[in-house]
């Protein structure tokens, strides 16, 4: 940045193209809209410093996703650092929360007619966001970012077993949520 903004209009157009993707990727990891917006802002500020290379790059989407993932995980790490000491031996607590999670979700109206695809997607997105971070983050890294269990364990600095357990519990929680709405589960 050398005293004036280079191509603000082009950069704005660039942001319009990618803002939903960046915001969604951050939101799925941090589970909070305000934090996701902050992270998206940081991502685009970083992108601006490399805009000359990025604007013509065919891999710009991947670059943005990687930066978003890294910033989101850094954000989560900042909040987790102080209590992580206990979190690894918290299996009983996690199990309890697992049951609480399904019980606390708003009950679907079983008398309604068939749930259409949009409703099903909303249901899944909402259930995903309500998962505890310990389950949501590895689940998102596995299914959306296509990371392996080993990569997730290394990135989150937790054991491989914990990653597998958390992902399994996350999937089960989502299944329970969808099973409570048969149309959503079978569609």
């Amino acid at each position: 940045m050398t005293g004036r903004m280079s191509d603000p209009l082009q950069f704005e157009a660039f942001m319009r193209n990618y803002q939903d993707m960046v915001f969604t990727a951050a939101l799925r990891l941090v589970g909070n809209e305000a934090d996701a917006e902050d992270i998206a802002q940081d991502v685009f500020l970083k992108a601006y410093t490399h805009f000359d290379q990025l604007r013509h790059s065919p891999t710009v989407g991947g670059w943005l996703k990687t930066v978003t993932r890294n910033l989101s995980l850094n954000h989560l790490t900042r909040y987790r650092a102080r209590w992580r000491f206990f979190s690894e031996c918290d299996d009983q607590g996690d199990r309890g929360e697992h049951h609480d999670f399904a019980a606390n979700l708003p009950a679907p109206d079983m008398s309604t007619q068939a749930v259409d695809a949009a409703d099903r997607r909303n249901l899944l997105e909402s259930a995903l966001q309500k998962l505890p971070a310990a389950q949501r983050v590895p689940l998102v890294l596995y299914h959306f970012d296509n990371l392996s269990y080993e990569e997730i364990a290394s990135r989150l600095r937790v054991s491989l077993g914990k990653v597998k357990t958390d992902i399994h519990r996350g999937r089960e929680a989502l299944r329970q949520r969808l099973m409570r709405n048969p149309e959503a589960a079978t569609a």
Binding site: M1, T2, G3, R4, M5, P8, F11, E12, M15, R16, Q19, D20, M21, V22, F23, T24, L27, E33, E37, A40, Q41, F44, L45, Y48, Y79, R80, R82, W83, F85, F86, E97, R120, R121, L124, E125, L128, P132, A133, A134, H143, F144, H168, R171, L174, R175, M179, P182, A185, T186
Partner: protein
């Protein structure tokens, strides 16, 4: 019980993977672009000395590099050649005079350090180890208590 509950995990994993990948992106808040543009504008309007060094004007970058190199060179030369000049001894004497009012403080600190060293020598290594262990336990207790209180207080927010 719903018969689908007994489906193998692998089938559910595959289906869930497909469903999750099919989720559309959420719309970003309308405030995002204005926020980014405002932050960029604020950066651009900041004076050069408040920006990172690599964003300085090129002439200032070169001048700062030359200046820092010159200062480092001068400092190196002074360190290597100061003993060759009689004025350095005079300067050292002058410095001692300036610092003379602080000599009682220095003497007090050195005697305190000497006394502490004698006490530690007399105590023996086991007592020292025990005292260090006690300090570590007290410190960890504080960390544990603080973590527990923090976690209980903000449990919902974190998870």
């Amino acid at each position: 019980m719903n018969p689908r509950d007994s489906r193998p995990d692998a089938i559910w994993e595959t289906r869930l993977d497909r469903e999750l990948k099919g989720l559309p992106d959420r719309a970003a808040p309308h405030t995002l672009i204005p926020r980014v543009m405002a932050a960029l504008q604020a950066r651009v309007c900041a004076p050069w000395y408040r920006r990172p060094w690599w964003d300085w004007p090129p002439a200032l970058k070169i001048a700062s590099l030359l200046g820092v190199s010159g200062l480092l060179g001068l400092a190196t030369w002074l360190v290597m050649h100061c003993s060759e000049y009689p004025w350095t001894a005079a300067a050292a004497g002058e410095l001692k005079t300036w610092l003379a009012p602080l000599s009682p403080v220095w003497a007090l600190l050195t005697s305190l350090a000497g006394a502490l060293a004698l006490v530690f020598k007399g105590m023996g290594s086991w007592i020292l180890l025990g005292a260090s262990g006690l300090c570590a336990i007290l410190y960890l207790s504080c960390v544990a208590l603080g973590t527990a209180v923090y976690r209980v207080a903000s449990y919902r927010r974190i998870r």
